[in-house]
Point group: C2
Chain length 170, copies 2
Amino acid sequence: MDTATSRFTDRMGLLFEAEGQPPIAGRIFGYLMVSEEARSLDQLAEALRVSKASVSTNARRLADVGILERVCRPADRHDYYRVAPELFTRTMAERLRRWQRFTEAVGEARRTLPIRSERVRARLRGYETAYAFMADAIGDALERWQAGSAGPRPRRRAAEGQRLAHGDGR
Amino acid sequence: MDTATSRFTDRMGLLFEAEGQPPIAGRIFGYLMVSEEARSLDQLAEALRVSKASVSTNARRLADVGILERVCRPADRHDYYRVAPELFTRTMAERLRRWQRFTEAVGEARRTLPIRSERVRARLRGYETAYAFMADAIGDALERWQAGSAGPRPRRRAAEGQRLAHGDGR
DNA sequence: CCGGACGTTCAGTCCGTATTGAACTCACGG
DNA sequence: CCGTGAGTTCAATACGGACTGAACGTCCGG
């Protein structure tokens, strides 16, 4: 693996670490992102210089979450992994679930906690509606995206995607 | 602190931990969410049964990130903390930044890595546009929320992509 | 039946980091 | 000037979890 790719995988490892996940998971993910074909556990272990045990557990976990996909080939005893085809919608859905967990916790608190202050009650209600609003918006956007990208081979890139300046943060 | 509230704060601690942040930070946040008034460091330390040192560092960090707000009262040497008034938009903006960091990493990889496969290039482009699209959608929703929360009941489901003027300086 | 090549599991180690008690700084009041 | 009370900083500790090497189970080809 060349040094540029290694830098990229390490960066992904850091991003994953910042999200509370093991760094190796991020590095696996990064490596598979820039891999043409699916990779076996041995390939991953060798490319990332980590034990096969780590690769095994982490890759499986990533597959459980829906970030990776395990693919088996006939007459081949290896397991291969690649980034899930529906990566974007899956991760977005997962993010949505986290927000909903937060919103649930707030809602349950508002309903069950002995809160005397009306101001606090109003505040909690405000959080609930705000986060519900955002979850709603994200759900809508997801649907729009799926509707747009589900069509037969979008020949032109979605114009919306180009509108946000996200580059040159260096 | 009653047991129900304690359960809630612990739950927040777990949620924060799942996000890769110290549990005490989450518990402070949870406790302040259901507090009528701002709380001093001592009050927090006593309510959560943790050292004042932890409360000090964690509360300050939360304030740095914009989740809490430190409020000083005249003729009172205590520091008080409360949840930031703009909590929702702040956390949402932070989340947006994280997505952009990811998108940046992907974009940089696409531009600088020696990728031979055209399929991989296309895949990375796809990620970029997808995540940029979502960031855009979230930005729009945020603006709608901010515009609406000042006025009456912003309850509105956007059926199709509706573009509002971006004022993006904040 | 073997032997080898897989992936998985598990005890052990190592490292980071959350948390703490104590020391420290600083401002104010007397 | 002290002494008190506030927040901060720091060295030490405890804890969790990531990672590993080795053992294990399993399937396949011979």
